[in-house]
Each structure stands twice: as structure tokens, then as C-alpha cells.
């Protein structure tokens, strides 16, 4: 099994998509010769040619819109938002068009397209290149929202997204691109059943920590802290944010009686806010012996300076402290 980065794993998945469907193309800014701002599409132009690896002008609206038009006419497009912040310029095609057409036209069309975008902070890129906007899209019926956290699930989920008949927002946190691990490069799945399922990535019985995207990695590092060696911690990677698999979390909380949700995005109207609301409204309510807690990014634009950036995003030590607070004060 090869050890590859998430960026390489995504490229392998993209190659398989291109190999498997000759109507598939990738369009985006600087994805050709440049290889993508994060190098994900490096080498694809040489392999597939400019008819399929399409460098676009800086025009996010038409990048997303052309995916919609191609998708409803029998093609299978994958487009890239260089930084997911730029998706703001493409909201009409995504929210008013891609998400709506299947429903609005009474089921007469499907819109099978993927919009990939580099999300998240940690690179000092400041407020307009560091956001985690995933929850915006979860609020829109008709879209699916996927947030991988490592090379293997990025590979698997991108392929699952490709075989799904719906528009997919695929948010790739910048800090996962260089994570490296062994990856099973499996074939194209028969269906998209991997979407909409969260995964218990660490089993435990004292507390459930739910998270997604790169914050899962921060959580997994945090729980290795020596001061937590006597705690049994369960960690759940949500993986798909819409549809959100709350059942896995509810079942876990029934066993651990505690829920800590960790995310980089601000807390208001967020994934964590929704998840906690779902859990306390569920059969797990009576199992809880502590109020569920949301450890989220500050309600602030992302600052550039490293020390300020880390002040906005929950850090390992914040997570360690919160776990102890929730367990020790029993």
C-alpha cells in the first residue's frame, strides 16, 4: 500500500473519475500548467489534455454555472474553487440553481456535479482565504456537503461523491493536503453509500467528541496528551455534514453520557450547533449527565498573525482542558 498525501489521494481519485467517464472534465483557476494552487491537479493536464483539464479565467460564477449546465445535459463535471472563500462569487449557480433544479423541475433533471474547494485556516492567509463556510451549504436542501479529514477518506469520499447523482460541496481543509498515510486506492464504488455516514475513529466510554475536517486531526492529537491517559475517549469524524449522520453520535452519547463538539468554524448557526440540538432532542437526552459543549472558532474574521490565528481556532490544549473540565467535574 503506497503512502501518499491527501493532495495525491485526491488526484488519484480525480484520475479515476476522468478515466471512468469521458464526459467528465475538471475546470477551475490555475488547475492546468500551474497544477492548482495547492498542487492537487499537478500533472493532470499532461495526462488528460486541455479538453478535460480546463483552466478558466477568474470567474467563479461561470465556473459553477457551467458545471450546472453540463450536469443537466448528461456530463459529469468537477470544478474547483481555488480557495473556498471564492465560492461566495458562485452562490447563485450553487444555491439557486444546482440545489434547486432537481426539485423545482419535478425530478425531471439530476445535477451530478462536484464543487471542490480549499477551506480552513492555519496558513496565515487571513480573513478572505481561511474560512470554513461549510455550514452555509448544509442549510440548503438539495446540496450534499462533504468534509474529508485524511488521505484515505478524501479518496473514498471523493469517489462516492462522483457516483452520487446530486450536487456535492467537497471542502478540503488546506492543512490536510500534506498529511501522509497509507491509502488503499480502491475502484470506483457502485453507489454513494459512503456519504451521509459518520465514523467512530477512536472508541471510548467516558466522553464522545464529535468533529469534522482537519479539527478531527487536532482532536486525535489532543487526546494523546499524557494528562488524559486515564480517560477513555470516543472520537467521531462526521465526514459528511449534509446529510448529517446524527444517529452514530446519538448512539455513542448513550454510552458515554457526554458530548463535546469541536470545530474550526464559528459556533453560531453551525454544524456543532445543529448536532448538539439534534442530540438533546433525541433519545440520548436522558443519557446526558453534562450539558453538551461546543468548542468552536471565535466569532471573528480570521486574523493573519500566527498567534492571533491560533487564538481564534480551538487548539489541542483547549480541547484537553475542555475534556478534563467535562469529566473531572462529575
Amino acid at each position: 500500500m503506497p503512502e501518499i498525501t491527501t493532495g495525491q489521494a485526491i488526484k488519484e481519485a480525480l484520475s479515476l473519475c476522468l478515466d471512468s467517464n469521458n464526459t467528465t472534465f475538471i475546470a477551475g483557476e490555475d488547475i492546468g500548467v500551474y497544477g492548482g494552487a495547492f498542487g492537487v491537479t499537478d500533472g493532470l493536464l499532461e495526462k488528460y489534455g486541455e479538453e478535460r483539464i480546463k483552466d478558466t479565467p477568474i470567474s467563479e460564477d461561470v465556473i459553477a454555472g457551467l458545471a450546472v449546465g453540463a450536469a443537466i445535459t448528461g456530463s459529469k463535471p468537477i470544478v474547483e474553487m481555488q480557495f473556498s472563500d471564492f465560492i461566495v462569487n458562485a452562490m447563485d449557480p450553487i444555491v439557486n440553481q444546482a440545489a434547486k433544479l432537481h426539485f423545482m423541475y419535478g425530478g425531471a433533471v439530476n445535477v451530478p456535479m462536484i464543487v471542490r474547494g480549499a477551506s480552513g485556516a492555519g496558513t496565515g492567509a487571513a480573513a478572505q482565504h481561511s474560512q470554513s463556510l461549510e455550514s452555509w451549504f448544509c442549510h440548503v436542501p438539495g446540496l450534499k456537503v462533504v468534509t474529508p479529514s485524511n488521505p484515505q477518506n478524501a479518496y473514498d469520499l471523493l469517489l462516492a461523491s462522483f457516483v452520487d447523482p446530486n450536487p456535492i460541496i467537497f471542502m478540503e481543509h488546506k492543512l490536510i493536503y500534506k498529511l501522509k498515510s497509507e491509502v488503499t486506492l480502491g475502484p470506483l464504488p457502485k453507489d454513494s453509500s459512503k456519504l451521509g455516514k459518520s465514523k467512530v475513529v477512536l472508541e471510548g466510554k467516558d466522553i464522545t467528541i464529535a468533529s469534522y475536517s482537519n479539527m478531527v486531526n487536532t482532536v486525535l492529537n489532543a487526546v494523546k496528551d499524557d494528562s488524559l491517559k486515564d480517560y477513555s475517549i470516543e472520537v467521531i469524524d462526521l465526514l459528511t455534514l449534509s446529510p448529517l449522520d446524527t444517529e452514530t453520535v446519538i448512539t455513542s452519547v448513550e454510552n458515554t453520557h457526554k458530548l463535546l463538539m469541536c470545530q474550526e468554524a464559528p459556533g453560531s448557526s453551525s454544524i456543532g450547533a445543529t448536532l448538539i440540538s439534534e442530540v438533546v432532542s433525541s433519545r440520548a437526552f436522558n443519557s446526558l449527565n453534562k450539558p453538551p459543549t461546543l468548542l468552536a472558532g471565535l466569532h471573528s474574521p480570521m486574523p493573519s498573525a500566527k498567534h492571533l490565528e491560533t487564538a481564534v481556532i480551538p487548539q489541542e490544549e483547549d480541547i484537553v482542558m475542555k475534556i478534563k473540565e467535562m469529566i473531572d467535574n462529575e
Binding site: N22, L66, G69, A70, I72, T73, G107, N166
Partner: protein, 317 residues
């Protein structure tokens, strides 16, 4: 164009006019929920453009799209059923007036967002190119759309990538209440297309033969060159923007002028009779169209409502 073609243009313009007049009547009787945007006065552009296309050519349409839909071959019964919220409607009551799609006739759907379909038409044209299909996409939009960013992004990309799109701007001279002359800097919509390297013309959008011939010629040029083209079709809507419009932004004299002097149906009837088409022939067509409308309305009113179930499930494919 032979006589048969001309009578078909007449029949279609009349079908659109009577379809929308029937809608108005149903609206005033309280039978329709929601609003609608009528294209009465603009029938020549929809008719001339769509009848110059083949069934496999694609169109994208606008909020004022009943005419495009009918001219591309839609069944009036299924359209009435849609507006009435019936299960037999094109969108099973989920789309209504503004969102009718009819894929089997190449209609990719009407769009409630001004300029919303421009980028979609570019993607559809890319699909045709990728799938090596020898057809074009005709993208309808209004004068209001030319000041949206997506208009410029779409034209730029269609030109750069040499995509088979025929952009047809139905310039009815008002974006809701905003007069086009107060909204379009530089004055000319057609010139904007030229600045993207797209050949464009401005035509009399109330002359159905001029529209038909222009679209036919441009369609063939697009097929041979692979490059997009642009038509500004100048027309006028008699009714308000939607049902809530009090027409405060224009004079009744202006509306009367267009109705009396420029009406596409009146002009075409005049032309046909000059060309020795029997008035009886036109009356016969009118009687047939009236019967189609009457029967379609009746059948739609009797058809079952869409059930309320599965709305969440239906959000996803």
C-alpha cells in the same frame, strides 16, 4: 419560408397569446396561486427563435418563459396543470409559472434568477461539444440580465472556449420598472457582446419572420464556426412586470403605441393577408388554437392535485 411555415409561426404566436390570456382570466377568477410574468406582446421573439431550432437544440429560458416553452413544443395541458399545482404539471406543482422545464423537447428550464441561465447555457454548450453533438444552445434572457456579472462571465467564457451558444436578449425595454436606457451604460446591449468578440446584431423582435430568419442563419453559422453569437431582439411587454405591477414607470400612450403600431400578431396577420393568405384560413387556425386552450384548461382543472408527501425526499435525486 413557405406558406406552411408562415402559418405555423402564426399558429404559435396565437397559441402563446391565448395561453397567457387564459392564464390572466384564471388568475382573476382566483384559480392560480402565486404570481406570473406574462409575455403578451413579445410572442414573435419566442416563436421565431424556437421554430428556427431543431428539437435536439437546447434552450434556457427566463421568468417570462411561457412563450419559449410553448414554442419549443411543450404541451399546454401540462403547463396549465403546472400552474394549477397538479401532479400532471411539468414540475408536479413544484416549479409553477417561473420554472417549467421540458427536457424531452430540449427546454432546459425557465429560471427565476435574472441572468441565472446564462452560465448554465455555457455549461450545456460545453456538454454538447464534449459529447460531440451537432446542436446549439439558445439562451434567452432579458435586458435586465445584461448588468449582472454572470452575463459578462458567461459571454467571456463562451467566446474564449468557442462554445455553440446563441445568446438571445429579449430587450423589452424594462427590467421590472427600470428603463433599459437608464440601466445600460454605453447605450448598446449588442455592442457589449461585440466587446467579447461575439458577433451580434440588433433586430426587430416583433417581426416574427426577421427573428426566425436571423436565428436560422446564426444557428447555421454557429454550427459551422463553433463560436457563440448574439442577437438583441427589441420588443415590448404590454402587461406589467408581474401581477403586482401598477405601470407607474411608463405612460399608457407608450403601451398603446406598441399595441396599435407594433403588435407582432397584428403585423403578421397584415403581412399574411397581403401575401394572399385567405382570412378564412387564419380564422380556422384561430378556432383550432382556441379549442386546444379550452380543452387544456378544462382537463387541467379536472386533474388531481400534487400530493404533499415526499417533499424532503424529492429534494435529492
Amino acid at each position: 419560408m413557405n406558406k406552411e411555415n408562415k402559418l405555423e409561426l402564426y399558429r404559435m404566436m396565437l397559441l402563446i397569446r391565448l395561453f397567457e390570456e387564459a392564464l390572466e382570466e384564471m388568475f382573476s377568477r382566483g384559480l392560480l396561486h402565486g404570481t406570473m410574468h406574462l409575455s403578451i406582446g413579445q410572442e414573435a421573439t419566442a416563436t421565431g427563435a424556437c421554430l428556427a431550432l431543431e428539437r435536439e437544440d437546447l434552450i434556457t429560458s427566463t421568468h417570462r418563459g411561457h412563450g419559449h416553452c410553448l414554442a419549443k413544443g411543450a404541451d399546454p395541458y401540462k403547463m396549465f396543470a403546472e400552474l394549477l399545482g397538479r401532479e400532471d404539471g411539468y414540475c408536479r406543482g413544484r416549479g409553477g409559472s417561473m420554472h417549467i422545464a421540458d427536457l424531452s423537447n430540449g427546454n432546459l428550464g425557465a429560471n427565476g434568477i435574472v441572468a441565472g441561465s446564462l452560465t448554465i447555457s455555457v455549461g450545456a454548450a460545453l456538454s454538447l461539444k464534449i459529447q460531440k453533438l451537432d446542436n446549439i444552445v439558445l439562451c434567452f434572457f432579458g435586458d435586465g440580465a445584461v448588468n449582472e456579472g454572470s452575463f459578462h462571465e458567461a459571454l467571456n467564457l463562451a467566446s474564449l472556449w468557442e462554445l455553440p451558444v446563441l445568446f438571445v436578449c429579449e430587450n423589452n425595454q424594462y427590467g421590472m420598472s427600470m428603463a433599459s436606457e437608464n440601466a445600460v451604460a454605453g447605450g448598446s446591449i449588442a455592442q457589449r457582446a461585440e466587446s467579447y468578440g461575439i458577433k451580434s446584431i440588433s433586430i426587430d423582435g416583433n417581426d416574427v419572420e426577421e427573428v426566425y430568419n436571423s436565428v436560422l442563419e446564426f444557428k447555421e453559422t454557429i454550427k459551422s464556426s463553433g463560436k457563440p453569437m448574439f442577437i438583441e431582439s427589441v420588443t415590448y411587454r404590454y402587461r406589467g412586470h408581474s401581477k403586482s405591477d401598477r405601470n407607474l414607470y411608463r405612460t399608457s400612450e407608450e403601451i398603446e403605441f406598441w399595441k396599435e403600431e407594433k403588435d407582432p400578431l397584428k403585423r403578421f396577420i397584415g403581412k399574411l393577408t397581403e401575401e394572399d393568405v385567405e382570412i378564412e384560413t387564419l380564422k380556422e387556425i384561430e378556432a383550432q388554437v382556441r379549442e386546444v386552450i379550452r380543452d387544456s384548461v378544462k382537463k387541467a382543472l379536472q386533474s388531481p392535485e400534487s400530493p404533499k408527501t415526499n417533499l424532503e425526499e424529492d429534494s435529492y435525486a
